[in-house]
Symmetry: C2
């Protein structure tokens, strides 16, 4: 009996062993290189062959998800050696498991024939996941190799935007009629011989494939075999349409603790099903992409991407940040005369700006989360504004007071201390107002509030903080 | 047949209707208040009663998770009115569904008797989830009301740290022996009459409750009833121990697409099971708490928490931020003489610091993610350092060059432009080194790299940026 700890350990261990074997392999190659042995001699050398055979044996016993983990943890050159050694009949499954960025590096190394062979091992919904990364000619050939039902399914799966139920669903559905007895269902299942993964219910449909309800396996098992499906099935099943948003479906899965759910078209015709593993992957990807974009990365990045690829992934936000930083710098530029006279202002101003940004980001995070959970609407917006203003006022008076005192002690200037306190309080109030307003406005205008809010709030509190502090100083200290 | 869209709509709709009824209720109260009608007359007034009855009827038809959503979306006073109206027999389930912060506000309003009644509706593992929020005397009384098996289970569930498998598992296990036939199993299940939620497999144990394997319902259904359990069961089931880390278990659930998994003790004795819905809740909470702490919130906050509670939740990070901002300010203080002579330095220095922080946070986010996925270890650290240094060098030369040019154009000073370019490049290189090093050191010293990395990297790139820029300026421009 394998235990989770063993899994984890053996996974780390497998990785270490693979690396060890790869290093041995490299050693031989380097040696050969130094002695100028011709390459074909190397390939035929016994040691070399043995190393690779051992490596291949290690890889063979691993679950595709674990091979994917190892591929993701290796730099590109080693990754491709391992990829070459993986048994071709598992290529498809492994390609499904690796992250998008790593998948591209693997596919780039495969020829059309290998890609076709890999794709042909997969179900239609899985091919749909790979399709965006396949070269066009391979995809065309693949499409032609499918029978008409699967071709139609693939095309319809590809026609749904990435964030809809249609893009997540699979076609592994087992359907039954409502007028048969459970005994007949049991016999039917035995004849089938195999049920799709995650099957926790059978779908009850009429002659036209319209969904009537679902028969949970739990009920099938505990009820009298003489009962009819109609009398035992659940007719209040949570059902999705293929155009529904994936995020709404996933919150329904969490809310109602679902394992699978049927997907129907506009006419209530059963077209597929959604499973908890697809939903779980979706949730993971969602929350990761939120976190990455909050930190200014455009998308998930291969840890071992080339410098050039990484620069491309990150440059958008750096550029935006540069523009906002430059604007803040120009705000300071307006007050160069004041700074020349009281140089202490230059040392103190980043504090005012920084704390405003920190507090504004706290507020924005709360609001973005409330929006995502659907907890914020017109009726409670006023409450939120007042609360955030209260928090900022309290923080401004307390921390602004402390900083004002420190400024006074450093520069022996009472008025400077008072300006410091006033500026911090005002900038915190600004950060509260903008921290609530920016994500709300972004949502209203149809944008994702998680993505740009942090950059925008920091831009406002930086420029605003410099302006308030230097402005007050110019008015009262000169 | 209910559809997801309808669920979502009716959920938002339900909230709107509840708010509408609450407002009507408030209107009557205000009216009464203005006319100085005694309170008991109000309570007995017909309109008042009708409003509340209607509200109660709306709430009754909702799923406990949906009532929880409504409670979370209401300010405290309205929340408590709704909470009073919820049928007492659903209190327990609803308390389980609301967020920790909101749960505390609800429990604060309940007396011991109500709390006891609510807890008694729940399973042992669910009581364990509530226990930390219960007053001590209520918990004692509850403990005494349980039979010895459940008391033991509750105490052992509470003895596991929050992030272990033991704290997530439940006790809804159906066990069978390996020497019986599937026919006998089927009859046994019919006699049971009900299977626990999420049951996708039965656990096969020996006389001493030691786990031998699992019989997936899928196999039970498709195999010949004459076969024995032993011949059909899967003996390579993924199994956890109660001390295993919840995060490792949840990645095993994702990796191997599990619905349930058995939990055993050190002697391989079956003690409970882990289900995908508990794992999904755990993943959601994990990723939320990462995001909240990256943005400087200590924990999940009730949207409608009092100003005072919110200040407490947020003050730690604000204080840390103040300290680092103050340190950066003192770095600037060192160079006040230089700034007095070239005031342009004051305007340009925040750009150098800001871009370093942005780039460092991008690097740190990548590394934190790689660490969480277990993809980073000693063997590839060097690759990562070189890659990040490469990205920073490229960004420094390009963006530093642009900014240097802008600085030259604004201040007509070639040397100032060159110092700007050099300082940006150096600070970006510093951000790359620290962006990789900080999360690695935090992990080595047993800390959570997600929590403080962002604050620390910003502190380093701020102080470092000011020091590098002003230092270079002092050396070459004065």
């Amino acid at each position: 009996m394998a235990e989770a700890d063993q899994y984890k350990e053996s996974l780390q261990e497998s990785l270490q062993q693979v690396i060890h074997l790869l290093n041995k392999h490299k050693l031989v190659e380097d040696l050969v290189h130094k002695q100028d042995m011709p390459r074909h001699a190397l390939v035929e050398s016994l040691v070399h062959k043995q190393n690779l055979a051992e490596l291949q044996k290690r890889l063979e016993v691993l679950h595709p998800a674990d091979v994917a983990y190892i591929l993701e943890s290796l730099p590109l050159d080693q990754r491709l050696i391992v990829w070459d050694l993986v048994k071709a009949e598992r290529d498809g499954e492994i390609l499904l498991e690796v992250s998008d960025a790593v998948r591209q590096t693997l596919i780039a190394e495969m020829d059309s024939e290998e890609l076709l062979a890999a794709a042909e091992q997969l179900d239609t919904d899985e091919i749909a996941d790979l399709a965006p990364d396949l070269p066009r000619d391979v995809f065309q050939e693949l499409l032609e190799s499918l029978d008409s039902q699967n071709r139609e399914r693939l095309q319809s799966a590809l026609s749904y935007p990435e964030d809809t139920v249609g893009a997540l669903m699979d076609f592994d559905i087992v359907t039954i009629r409502e007028d048969i007895s459970l005994e007949v269902v049991l016999r039917y299942l035995r004849r089938l011989g195999k049920l799709p993964d995650h099957t926790d219910k059978l779908f009850v449909v009429d002659r036209d494939d319209a969904l009537l309800g679902a028969l949970p396996l739990k009920r099938l098992l505990v009820h009298d075999p003489e009962s009819s499906v109609a009398s035992v099935m659940a007719d209040e099943t949570v059902t999705f349409q293929s155009e529904d948003k994936a995020s709404e479906a996933s919150s329904a899965f969490e809310r109602y603790d679902l394992v699978t759910a049927p997907v129907v078209d506009a006419d209530n015709k059963l077209v597929g099903r959604l499973t908890v593993d697809a939903v779980m992957d979706f949730i993971r990807e969602e929350s990761e992409s939120d976190m990455l974009s909050m930190m200014g990365l455009r998308e998930e990045e291969d840890l071992f991407a080339s410098v050039w690829k990484s620069v491309q992934n990150r440059w958008t936000w750096l550029a935006i940040n540069l523009v906002t930083a430059f604007m803040a710098s120009r705000v300071i530029g307006l007050f160069e005369g004041s700074i020349e006279k009281i140089v202490a202002l230059a040392a103190l101003m980043p504090i005012v700006a920084g704390i405003g940004g920190n507090s504004g980001n706290q507020t924005t995070t709360m609001i973005v989360r409330g929006l995502a959970l659907g907890q914020i609407s017109a009726h409670n917006m006023k409450n939120l504004f007042y609360k955030e203003l209260g928090v900022s006022l309290l923080n401004g008076l307390v921390w602004g007071g402390v900083l004002g005192l420190l400024a006074f002690m450093l520069y022996h200037n009472v008025k400077l201390g008072l300006v410091m306190t006033a500026a911090m309080t005002l900038n915190l109030l600004l950060s509260a107002v903008m921290g609530v307003a920016i994500p709300l406005v972004m949502t209203r205008t149809g944008r994702d509030p998680a993505v740009g809010s942090s950059v925008m709030i920091t831009a406002v509190t930086d420029s605003g903080g410099f302006f308030i502090f230097l402005g007050l100083a110019t008015l009262y200290l000169l």
